[in-house]
């Protein structure tokens, strides 16, 4: 789909009415993620249970529509997943956006996030799309630097 369509059909909904934007009470992990060249600047909060299940995900901050939509979609999808499932999903997502993962079945496993696949044709926006995912990956890997 072309980029205007991408905005219309996927990005806008999450950018204008994000479901997971806001402050979380008592998060387990909090990490700031930043794209210096774009000015995208988000803070992701996760609530992870003792069993390693992600029970809630929220973000704050500002950035372009693609970064905001992508993190909102992500937050919606990872709730209920185990750490491992979320990490696997992040790796598939980033692979798709970088054009390295092209297998249809794998991409479909991403569910709603798969809709962002056309960002792969916008190399300048790859960083925007992966910001949230990359931040989550760091958090779950305990790489909170």
């Amino acid at each position: 789909m072309d980029i205007k369509q991408l905005y219309r059909e996927i990005v806008n909904e999450h950018n204008l009415n994000p479901e997971h934007k806001g402050k979380m009470e008592d998060p387990t992990i909090v990490l700031r993620g930043v794209n210096p060249s774009c000015g995208d600047d988000i803070t992701l909060s996760l609530k992870v249970s003792d069993k390693g299940i992600i029970e809630d995900a929220m973000f704050e901050g500002s950035g372009c529509a693609i970064s905001q939509a992508s993190v909102d979609i992500m937050a919606g999808q990872i709730v209920g997943m185990t750490k491992e499932e979320a990490l696997k999903m992040a790796s598939t997502f980033m692979g798709m956006i970088k054009g390295e993962v092209t297998d249809e079945e794998e991409i479909e496993s991403l569910d709603e996030a798969a809709a962002l696949r056309d960002v792969a044709h916008m190399p300048a926006r790859v960083k925007c799309a992966v910001l949230g995912w990359h931040t989550m990956e760091k958090m779950l890997n305990g790489d909170n630097d």
Binding site: C64, I66, R125
Partner: protein, 405 residues
């Protein structure tokens, strides 16, 4: 000649419908310039300055001729005052390190503006850090103008160096560099001018400005990417130590020490980029064929229409002066509710090239309170039709972004 006539000289505009409005980042190059570089490699290619054979002599002549043309282009007293560098950034680093490091002491002040490009900030931050000098920022008013009160209050007896962009690459305003230079000289400071955005748009006369140093890049005035210029007054360059050291810039070298070649070679270490210097000369010839008056007239016409269209849009915040004649072809803006990066991506879908981001001027972004802005910048080869396409595309952005209007 019309803009359409000149466009024919630019291969990149042929056979596609892209609207190139990122001229402040880099201009396009006419075939004449591209061919001049090729011609150098095809006819005169040799390492200049040292060879005793015909090709090297020819390469040297062409390289040194380019220097003469640059000197007269900016009104330098002599071509020995023209140092070829890679770009404005290298020119500014050269001044900061070779002049700044040697002449700054703790307590001294370097005065710049908050509108500067990073190339005219970071070298000074670094030199100030190392010497204990203080970096002082002049601030513009709402429209981007630096007032007389502002520069008179910031430039003081402690000031050793004043370094100001001739034209801001975000606001488009032309700073009063001549007046600031006069004041700088009155307090005994040297005046450095970053002319990257000015040289492609106006008649620069370094002696009229009384600039001690003046820097610009070839690629922004239709020249090749690998060549920049640093003008410096001979009496200052003479006393400065070289910046880069190596081949071609020496007189004698022993194991322990070295003496330097005469100006300007002292500042040009290593094999010179003669091909791109020759390309820059050709760009200057092309530029002079187009003429300053035509360039200015076209920029004002296009900028006026852009600003008018943006105001009519109703959702566009504009930066810089009210007067389109004070924009040097640069219009910086933000669409309400739309991140500039999204604006640029959507415009690109319509084959319209604009820039979005911090424009290498983050302190200015912080000052005007914008994380990021979009920028359309035109040059004489752009057309009214392109402006209309740009405005139409712009008018559609908020719809694409899901706003009702």
């Amino acid at each position: 000649m019309t803009a359409e006539d000149f466009r024919q000289d630019f291969p990149i505009f042929q056979g596609n419908d892209y609207v190139y409005f990122d001229n402040a980042a880099t201009s396009q190059r006419p075939l004449q310039v591209i061919d001049a570089v090729s011609d150098f490699y095809k006819r005169s290619n040799a390492n200049p300055l040292r060879g005793l054979y015909d090709w090297s002599v020819d390469a040297t002549d062409r390289y040194e001729h380019a220097r003469k043309v640059v000197a007269s282009f900016i009104g330098a007293a002599s071509e020995t005052e023209i140092v070829f560098t890679r770009n404005t950034t290298e020119s500014m680093n050269l001044v900061a390190y070779s002049y700044g490091m040697a002449n700054l002491r703790a307590g001294d002040e370097v005065v710049i503006t908050v509108m500067e490009h990073h190339s005219n900030i970071l070298p000074w931050q670094s030199v100030c850090n190392k010497t204990g000098a203080k970096l002082v920022f002049m601030e513009p008013d709402e429209e981007g103008y630096i007032s007389r009160e502002e520069y008179e209050s910031k430039i003081t007896e402690r000031t050793r160096i004043v370094s100001v962009g001739h034209v801001s690459n975000v606001m488009g305003v032309t700073n009063p560099v001549k007046e600031i230079a006069a004041l700088a000289h009155k307090v005994g400071a040297v005046m450095v001018v970053d002319g990257a955005q000015a040289a492609p748009h106006m008649k620069v006369d370094v002696r009229d400005i009384d600039a001690d140093f003046y820097a610009f890049s070839g690629h922004k005035l239709m020249g090749p990417m690998g060549i920049g210029v640093l003008y410096g007054k001979e009496k200052l360059l003479d006393k400065m130590d070289p910046f880069l050291t190596g081949g071609e810039m020496i007189e004698y070298v022993t194991r322990d020490s070295a003496t330097w070649a005469e100006l300007p070679h002292k500042f040009e270490a290593g094999t010179v980029n003669a091909a791109d210097a020759v390309g820059l000369e050709e760009a200057i010839h092309y530029f002079e064929k187009v003429g300053f008056d035509f360039i200015r007239e076209r920029e004002i016409a296009l900028t006026s229409r852009i600003m008018e269209g943006m105001k009519a849009n109703g959702h566009v915040k504009l930066y810089g002066p009210e007067d389109p004649a004070d924009h040097c072809g640069i219009v910086t803006f933000v669409i309400d509710g739309v991140h500039p990066h999204d604006t640029a991506s959507i415009l690109n879908e319509d084959h319209i090239c604009i820039r979005a981001g911090h424009h290498c001027a983050q302190p200015l972004m912080q000052f005007i309170g914008a994380g990021s802005t979009a920028r359309a910048s035109v040059y004489f080869y752009n057309t009214e039709e392109e402006v209309e396409r740009f405005l139409k595309s712009l008018d559609g952005v908020r719809k694409v972004m899901g706003y009702g209007y």
